[in-house]
């Protein structure tokens, strides 16, 4: 599911795991079309921004709207990525292998009873207004989230288990816990300056986008923002890890990926974010461009088909209208077995993805899990049909399987109208499940939130970005994440509530030994796989592209084969080095523009010629 829209409703969601897809309104779609049509044909080659006044500007084409610049509210990938640049977190992830490394804290250790964590805060980190960043700021940030519900909107799940947070000295932060918590070295919470934020009245409404520059201590400082237009950042020269090398970083909005690609070809932007990923056709055509590098790396996201397990609330009330047959595990597994994941990789992703198995992408090797041979639900349509027969859903005279209510089964599949992959996979589902005798209605919406939260769907396309610490993506399938009443919004992904799963979840969260915890997480994934609630079909690659004549080098995460946009850290933009000015050459795309312009001109002239001849003939006939 594209949970980011759920997130917009203001319930606790962890930041960087925001799903990747963008939801545009119909109006935006119209805009998109105009942009898509106008820009590629616009023959005027625009000057590369990097050359303006000798200033090195790194322009990134993005599509997703910023939900909020307040770290207490933001959950979308674009916003949380910007927060990584604006504010320092207690810890960071190593770009090479994702292990926790010092951020604002230089050292952290638990007490013997595992309930008290002591962090040593660095003394060389300064806010951009000159004041020093101290443990007091961190303590204030956490305390605010613990006491103010509005401030707990985005990252409240981190502090739910905190008993007390204090700052005995400017360099010492002490967090006391109610229960042991394994994620203490992976607290993805931006630390904000107390002296600026203590003046804020209502945290649930303050979006932090009125006064610029925004005071921060990260590698960049936000100096300007206009919704769906741009976010402008200047490097923080006094950043403790060293200042970034570009003079300016701009996230510019291109609601249409084709327009963004055209802008990249022309050198208007230096980087096209792979969110949504470049299509196989775009990636292939960009690969032929000598000044453009396509980064096609294993992604940190999974792409799944989630079943509605019968929506319910914590108070026991059932709601929604999911199909009763989906409550049967055999039916869910049969549906699983009738999906040819290999074909999806080959045809829909054209190789730009890895076949899905366990819940966590193989990129996070510590936690990635694969089903055993006996357990695996591979593509076997005949066996799927057998399972459905066993479950009591037999075919009628027309070859359609009939539900308990005597009507042919027809599943409503919730899909994102803005995501071409959903529609493409949906076409395959129609045929695969159609062969089983099950009807499929694709319900493609710009905004899937309402039917999703109301449980009014049978199956839905779902996807989450996974963090190096998988706690969050696991937590969204626990009973505790269900909404309190049918009217509330819970942190739950799709209403899964399974006792065995919950027990394992609690165990892994309290386990401090990394190897043992990884083992528990794998058991958890195994349980989730067996229930058949989540069919992970693919781990899509991050397919993104940048101009090598504007960006000389940039860090991917993980370094060997990783993504650039949407990292768990600020590595890519902080490390990016500009190419020398003379390397920036005019590429052939500007001449392509000219050629298109000339061709268009000739066509118009020819058309006008024909038109006038016909007009003259018409008048001649008129005179007769």
């Amino acid at each position: 599911m594209d949970t980011q829209d759920l997130d917009g409703r203001g319930h606790p969601r962890r930041a960087a795991r925001t799903p990747l897809r963008l939801l545009a309104a119909a109006g935006a779609a119209a805009l998109t079309v105009t942009a898509g049509l106008a820009t590629p044909l616009n023959p005027a080659p625009q000057q590369a921004r990097a050359e303006e006044e000798g200033k090195k500007v790194l322009t990134v084409a993005v599509a997703q709207s910023v939900d909020s610049l307040s770290p207490f509210l933001a959950t979308r990938l674009v916003s949380t990525s910007i927060h990584r640049l604006m504010y320092e977190y207690l810890t960071n992830y190593d770009p090479k292998d994702n292990h926790a490394i010092p951020g604002l804290a230089t050292k952290w250790e638990p007490s013997a009873d595992k309930l008290t964590w002591t962090y040593t805060i660095r003394s060389n980190s300064k806010w951009s207004d000159g004041k020093g960043a101290t443990a007091e700021d961190a303590a204030w940030t956490f305390n605010k989230m613990m006491t103010d519900e509005g401030a707990a909107t985005a990252n409240g799940s981190f502090v739910a288990n905190f008993r007390k947070v204090t700052a005995p000295s400017p360099t010492k932060l002490v967090i006391e816990l109610k229960k042991p918590q394994a994620t203490m070295a992976a607290l993805d919470v931006p630390i904000v300056p107390k002296h600026v934020w203590e003046n804020v009245d209502d945290f649930s409404k303050f979006n932090n986008d009125k006064t610029f520059p925004i005071v921060g201590n990260g590698p960049f400082v936000v100096t300007g923002y206009k919704a769906d237009s741009f976010v402008r950042l200047k490097p923080n020269k006094s950043f403790w890890r060293g200042a970034p090398k570009f003079d300016e970083l701009v996230f510019r909005y291109y609601k249409d990926q084709d327009a963004a690609v055209a802008a990249l070809r022309k050198g208007e932007v230096s980087f096209v974010a792979g969110q949504p990923a470049l299509t196989p056709a775009q990636a292939a055509s960009l690969k032929g461009d000598k000044n453009i590098k396509v980064n096609d790396a294993p992604g940190r996201r999974f792409y799944a088909l989630a079943t509605n397990p019968g929506a319910r609330a914590k108070n026991g009330d059932k709601f929604g209208d999911g199909h009763e047959s989906l409550l049967n595990q055999k039916v869910r597994q049969a549906l699983f077995m009738a999906v040819d994941r290999k074909t999806i990789i080959d045809k829909v992703f054209q190789g730009h993805a890895v076949e899905g198995e366990g819940y966590i992408p193989p990129r996070f090797s510590t936690y990635a899990w694969k089903p055993t041979d006996g357990q695996k639900l591979s593509y076997e349509p005949e066996k799927a049909a057998e399972l459905l027969d066993q479950a009591g859903y037999k075919k009628n005279g027309d070859g359609k399987r009939v539900g308990k209510d005597g009507k042919p089964i027809n599943y409503r599949v919730l899909c994102h109208a803005t995501d071409p992959q959903d529609k493409a996979v949906g076409k395959y589902l129609e045929e695969w499940w159609g062969a089983l005798g099950i009807g499929v209605t694709l319900n493609c919406l710009d905004n899937v939130t309402d039917p999703w939260l109301a449980g009014e769907y049978d199956l839905a396309f779902d996807g989450w970005s996974v963090n190096p610490d998988p706690d969050f993506v696991l937590s969204i399938h626990t009973c505790a994440a269900l909404p309190a009443t049918p009217k509330d919004t819970g942190a739950t992904d799709n209403f899964i509530c399974d006792k065995k799963y919950d027990d394992l979840y609690d165990k892994q969260l309290a386990e401090y030994d990394p190897a043992k915890r990884a083992d528990l997480v794998k058991q958890l994934e195994s349980r989730l796989y067996d229930t058949g609630y989540m069919n992970v079909m693919a781990y899509p690659n991050a397919v993104e592209a940048y101009r090598t004549d504007q960006i000389k080098s940039i860090t991917t995460m993980p370094e060997a084969a990783g993504n650039i946009y949407g990292q768990d850290g600020y590595w890519s933009w902080w490390s990016a080095t500009p190419a020398a000015a003379d390397e920036a050459s005019d590429d052939e795309s500007s001449s392509t523009g000219v050629v298109i312009g000339i061709v268009a001109g000739v066509v118009v002239l020819a058309g006008a010629g024909v038109f006038f001849t016909m007009r003259r003939r018409a008048t001649a006939e008129d005179r007769e």
């Binding site: 084709d258 299509t279 196989p280 056709a281 803005t418 493409a424 395959y428 710009d446």
Partner: protein
Amino acid sequence: MTTGGEKTNGGPRTNGEPMTTETTARAAQASPRALARQRRRHSVARFWKQYRTHRAGLFGLAALALFGLIALTAPLTVGSDVQSVTNAPGRPLESPSAEFPLGTDQFGRSLLGLLVWGSRVSLLVGLLAAVLSVAIGALIGITAGHFRGWYATVMMRITDWFLVMPTLVLAIALATVMSRSLGTIILAIGVTTWPTTARLVRAQTLAVESRPYIERAKALGGGHWHIMSRHVLPNVMPLVLAQTTLIISSAILAEATLAFLGLGDPTVVSWGGLLQDAREAGAVSSGKWWYLVPPGIAIAVVALAFTLCGRAVESVLNPKLGVTR
């Protein structure tokens, strides 16, 4: 689509007059039914004779016949298997070759086959939406012209409201709130394009109703229904027909636009839908022209053909426009 029609506002329809005199002369010799049939045959023959003189109209008709034939015979020529993604014969986005004359789409399906199959939906939606639009327009136009008074005022203000609303925006809004299906698209186009027809038909109704024979009919006891159905409707019918032909082309364009904007039924193959698929596959920026150009040309040609036919019909039926070819 409307410019030609507007000119007929309030103009007297002379083409009905000769018929009446001709038939009364022979009334004694044959039964009324046979007479009516004969009269219709005559007027059709006359219509065709005049229509034949419009070269553009003939061209449009030929193009329409061709597309109609393609659409109707599609189940025999390409078959519904052409839409199947699981049995797609080619590799994704192959360029045109002997095997796939127009290349393949992102699933490896033959684009020529999809183009042929898509013509069914595009034409069907265009026709049905135009019929719906003209039906609403004619109903409101005739009743508003006949009843006058507060009813007409209210109806015309509603018409004005729809007239000033940007059609596409309204259609997008409608298509967004309703479920995604062909019916929705037809409805969205139908209920947003009727106001021009309503205005035209109302003006014509007013002109017809001011004639003396309507007064005679009233004097003889003809009720509202009788007058509207027996006297007004036959007289506005030619106008309605011409308007339908013209609206079809804009309905086809609207259908393509809505499908292109992703508001159509994603599981149905249509020309606009093909363009949308092409855009989503990144065909624009990667230069896969064979994915974009054929459906675009097909939409343009069919819309042009309907417009040419509509213009020709209009100029035959309305002598005031007669000279243009």
